[in-house]
C-alpha cells in the first residue's frame, strides 16, 4: 500500500507544479492591453525606446496628455533599445499583448510595412481631413511610401559636423567657417592635428556612411533606393561611396583621422577631452555636447567632395506606428495621442528639451524655441541644414528590409580601412554581403 501513496504524492506535485505555471500566467493578465480601463477610459499602450533624460521628457508629455482630457489613458512603457523593442514587438505583434502605438527606428520602416501588423496612419489623416501641410516634408517623406504616410514621425535627427572652436582658433582657422568640402576638411584636419589631437573622426556606424553618400546625391540600393520596388542590389559601392571611403582611408593614412570605434559615448568623450577636433554626431546630441564641452563648440553641414553638389541629409531617428487588428476605439484614441504629439506646442517642448527636430514647422515660431536658439545657436544650424535639403530619392532615404545587416557589413568594411584595406575592395565586399542578405529577404516574400 505504500507505493500508490508515493505515486499519488508525485502526481499531486506534478499537478501543483503545472498549476503554479498557470498561476504565473494569470497574474500577468492585468498587464495586458485592454480596450477600456476600469474608469471607462480607453487605454493606449505606447512602447518606446527613449531612455535616460529622453524618457523623462516622454513621460512628462504623456502625463500632460492624460491630464488634458478625460477619455484616454496613455501608458508609456520603455522597452530597451530600438533593436530590443522591435524584437519584443515581433513576439507579440498581432496578439492582445501588442502595444497600440510602437516607436520604431527609421531603418525598421520597410520591415514594419512588410510585417502586416500595422495600420498606416494615412487612414486616419484621410478620415480626419487632418492638415499635414505644416509638416516638415524632409522628415515625413521618409515614412511616406507610394504616397501613403505609414507612420507618424516622432523623434527625428540628422548628422551634423561638430567642431572645437578653440582648437580652430589655435590652428589659425576661421571659427565661423567649418569645412564644407572634402578638400577643406582634409586641410583643416591637417592643421588641427597636433600632438595628442587628431583632426577628424567618424563613428564606425553605418548611418554616417549612408548620410555622407546621400549628401552627394548617391543612392544606397537599386530600385530608386528601394522605393520603386523591392531592392535587389546594393549600390552604395558606387562613385559616391568610394569618395567617402577614399576620404577616410586617405585621412587615416595621413594620421589626421582618429578611429573612435562603434560607441557613441567614446567618440563624444574623445571630442570633449580634446582628442579629436572635428567629428560627425547626431543633431540630437548637439545640446549635450555644447553644454558639456569645456570649450566653444560649432556646428556645420555635412561636407561633400568638391565636384559634387550638396544634396542634403536623410532623416534619422524613429517614428510611431499604429497596430492593426485592435479595436477601432483604441486606434482612434491612439490617433488622438499622435495628433497631440505633433501639435506645435508639444513639438516645441520636444525640440528644446531633446534636440530632436520638430516635425511641425510652426513649432519653430514658439517663444521657447526662439529663446533656446539664442542660447544655443548651434541648434539652429541643424534645423537649417534640414530645411536646405533638396527633396530627392537620395535624401528621402533607402528602404530595405535588411538594414541592420547592411549596416553591420558597412561597419566591417569601414573597420578594414584602418587595417589598410583598399577602399573599393572593402566596399565591394560589403555590397556583395548586402546583396546576399537582400536575396534571402526577397525569397521570403
Amino acid at each position: 500500500m505504500k507505493k500508490p501513496k508515493i505515486l499519488l504524492t508525485l502526481l499531486t506535485l506534478t499537478v501543483l507544479l503545472l498549476a503554479a505555471c498557470n498561476g504565473e500566467k494569470e497574474t500577468a493578465e492585468p498587464e495586458k492591453a485592454q480596450a477600456a480601463t476600469k474608469d471607462g477610459k480607453t487605454e493606449v499602450v505606447f512602447w518606446h525606446a527613449m531612455n535616460g533624460q529622453l524618457e523623462e521628457v516622454v513621460d512628462d508629455l504623456v502625463a500632460d496628455f492624460n491630464e488634458q482630457q478625460d477619455d484616454i489613458t496613455v501608458k508609456a512603457v520603455f522597452q530597451g533599445t530600438y533593436e530590443e523593442a522591435i524584437t519584443k514587438f515581433n513576439t507579440v505583434a498581432g496578439t492582445k499583448d501588442a502595444p497600440t502605438v510602437m516607436q520604431v527606428f527609421e531603418v525598421g520602416t520597410k520591415y514594419m510595412i512588410d510585417s502586416g501588423k500595422i495600420e498606416p496612419v494615412q487612414k486616419f489623416i484621410d478620415a480626419d481631413n487632418y492638415d499635414t501641410s505644416k509638416w516638415e516634408k524632409n522628415i515625413t517623406n521618409y515614412y511616406n511610401v507610394d504616397g501613403v504616410q505609414y507612420s507618424m514621425p516622432f523623434n527625428s535627427s540628422t548628422p551634423v559636423l561638430i567642431y572645437n572652436k578653440d582648437a580652430f582658433k589655435k590652428a589659425g582657422l576661421d571659427t565661423e567657417k567649418p569645412p564644407a568640402t572634402y578638400e577643406e576638411l582634409k586641410t583643416a584636419a591637417k592643421a588641427l592635428t597636433t600632438g595628442d589631437q587628431y583632426g577628424f573622426s567618424v563613428l564606425n556606424y553605418g548611418w554616417f556612411i549612408e548620410e555622407l553618400i546621400a549628401a552627394q546625391g548617391g543612392l544606397f540600393v537599386n530600385e530608386d533606393n528601394g522605393r520603386a520596388g523591392n531592392a535587389t542590389e546594393a549600390v552604395f559601392n558606387g562613385k559616391e561611396g568610394q569618395e567617402v571611403f577614399q576620404l577616410i582611408s586617405d585621412m587615416y593614412k595621413d594620421k589626421t583621422f582618429y578611429n573612435s570605434g562603434q560607441n557613441w559615448d567614446d567618440i563624444r568623450a574623445a571630442f570633449q577631452s580634446g582628442k579629436i577636433a572635428m567629428y560627425l554626431d547626431s543633431s540630437a546630441g548637439v545640446r549635450d555636447i555644447v553644454e558639456q564641452s569645456p570649450f566653444d563648440v560649432g556646428t556645420g553641414y555635412l561636407p561633400v567632395p568638391e565636384q559634387s553638389e550638396w544634396e542634403g541629409v536623410v532623416i534619422g531617428g524613429a517614428s510611431l506606428w499604429m497596430a492593426n487588428g485592435i479595436e477601432d476605439a483604441q486606434q482612434q484614441a491612439a490617433w488622438e495621442f499622435m495628433k497631440y504629439l505633433t501639435s506645435p506646442e508639444v513639438q516645441a517642448t520636444w525640440h528644446v528639451n531633446t534636440g530632436y527636430f520638430a516635425i511641425n514647422t510652426d513649432a519653430y515660431d514658439q517663444d521657447i524655441v526662439k529663446s533656446e536658439w539664442e542660447k544655443y545657436p548651434q541648434l539652429k544650424v541643424t534645423v537649417d541644414q534640414l530645411g536646405d535639403t533638396k527633396t530627392s530619392i537620395a535624401t528621402q532615404g533607402a528602404l530595405i528590409p535588411v538594414f541592420p545587416e547592411a549596416r553591420q557589413k558597412v561597419v566591417g568594411a569601414m573597420e578594414s580601412l584602418y587595417q589598410g584595406a583598399d577602399p573599393k575592395e572593402a566596399l565591394d565586399q560589403a555590397a556583395k554581403a548586402t546583396n546576399d542578405a537582400l536575396e534571402m529577404a526577397n525569397r521570403k516574400k
Partner: protein
C-alpha cells in the same frame, strides 16, 4: 531496486501488475516534464527551424533543407566566428584556471589575516558581468581610459585595445579571466581544504620538497575539483555573451564575433532565425565533441579518492 526485483520474482505472471517501466517513468515524470518543456522541445524546435527560412516572428516559412548549414560552413564569416570562439576559449580557460589555482594555493596557507585575502580573491564572484564590463569599457577607453594612461606613463605607445582586430579578443579575454577567477578560486580553495593534512605531514617526515608534494599530493587529490572547474570554465567560455555585447559588439571586423554572439545577432538583430538555429545546432555539436573528448581524457587522469 532489490525490492522491485523480489516482487517481480514473487508475483505470479498471470496476475496483472503495474508495469515496472511505467512505474519508473512515473517517478521520473516531474523531471521529464520539466526537461521536455524547457530543453527537449526547444532543442527539437531549433533543429526544425534550422531547415527553414523564417519570418521575423520565427515562424517557419520555406523549407530549404540543409542550405543554412552548407552556407555557414562555406562562409568566411562563420569560420571567423569559429576561430574567435576557439581562440577565446584558449585565452581564457587555461589562464583562468592556473591563476585561480595559484591564488588558491597562496590563500590556503594558515596565516594571520588570510581571511581578508580569501575574500579579496573571491570578490569578483559578486560582480555582475554587465557591471564589470562597463568598468572595463572605461578602462579601455582610448581617449580617457586608465589602460592608455598606464601605457604612456611606462613610456609605451597608446593602444586602441578594443578597436584593433589583433588585440580586441585578448582585451575581452582579460576581463573574462578576471571575472571568472573568483568562482574558480573559491571552488579550488574548497578542494584544497578537503585534502587530508596527514598526507602533507608524511611528506614532511619523508623530507620531500614543497614542489614535490604539490605535484604528487596536491594536484592528484585536487584533480576531481580541477576537472569540474575546467569543464565549467570551458562551457562558460563557449557561452560568453555579456562582455562581448558591451565591449565590442562582435567587432572590429568580426574578430570578437564568437558563435554565441553571432547567433544572437543573426536571430535578434537580423531576424534570420533559420540561420541562427543552424549555428546553434553546430555549436551544440561542437561542445558535445569537446565534452566527450574531455571526459575520455579525464577518465585516465583524474584521481577519485
Amino acid at each position: 531496486m532489490i525490492a522491485v526485483k523480489d516482487r517481480l520474482r514473487a508475483e505470479p505472471k498471470s496476475r496483472w501488475r503495474f508495469p515496472v517501466t511505467l512505474e519508473g517513468m512515473l517517478y521520473l515524470l516531474p523531471s521529464i516534464v520539466l526537461f521536455a518543456v524547457f530543453l527537449f522541445y526547444p532543442m527539437f524546435k531549433t533543429i526544425y527551424l534550422s531547415l527553414f527560412l523564417t519570418d521575423a516572428q520565427g515562424n517557419a516559412q520555406i523549407f530549404v533543407g540543409l542550405e543554412h548549414y552548407s552556407q555557414l560552413l562555406s562562409s568566411p564569416s562563420f569560420r571567423a566566428s569559429l576561430k574567435a570562439t576557439v581562440l577565446f576559449v584558449l585565452y581564457t580557460v587555461p589562464a583562468g584556471v592556473i591563476l585561480a589555482l595559484g591564488l588558491a594555493l597562496l590563500a590556503n596557507q594558515k596565516l594571520k589575516g588570510i581571511g581578508f585575502f580569501r575574500t579579496l580573491f573571491s570578490s569578483t564572484m559578486g560582480m555582475s558581468v554587465a557591471a564589470s564590463s562597463v568598468i572595463w569599457l572605461f578602462i579601455y577607453n582610448p581617449a580617457i581610459g586608465i589602460a592608455n594612461t598606464i601605457m604612456t606613463t611606462l613610456g609605451l605607445q597608446e593602444m586602441q585595445w578594443l578597436l584593433n582586430p589583433d588585440t580586441a579578443l585578448i582585451s575581452v579575454a582579460i576581463p573574462t579571466i578576471w571575472m571568472n577567477t573568483g568562482f574558480s578560486f573559491l571552488i579550488l580553495l574548497g578542494g584544497l581544504h578537503n585534502i587530508d593534512a596527514s598526507l602533507y605531514e608524511s611528506g614532511k617526515i619523508a623530507g620531500v620538497s614543497d614542489f614535490y608534494s604539490l605535484r604528487k599530493i596536491t594536484l592528484p587529490l585536487l584533480s576531481p575539483t580541477l576537472l569540474f572547474i575546467v569543464t565549467v570554465s570551458l562551457i562558460n567560455s563557449f557561452q560568453t555573451f555579456g562582455q562581448i555585447d558591451i565591449l565590442t559588439k562582435g567587432g572590429p571586423m568580426e574578430s570578437t564575433n564568437v558563435i554565441v554572439y553571432s547567433i544572437f545577432k543573426d536571430a535578434f538583430v537580423n531576424f534570420n532565425i533559420g540561420s541562427a538555429s543552424a549555428q546553434a545546432v553546430l555549436l551544440f555539436a561542437f561542445i558535445l565533441i569537446v565534452t566527450i573528448l574531455q571526459f575520455k581524457w579525464s577518465e585516465k587522469k583524474v584521481h577519485y579518492q
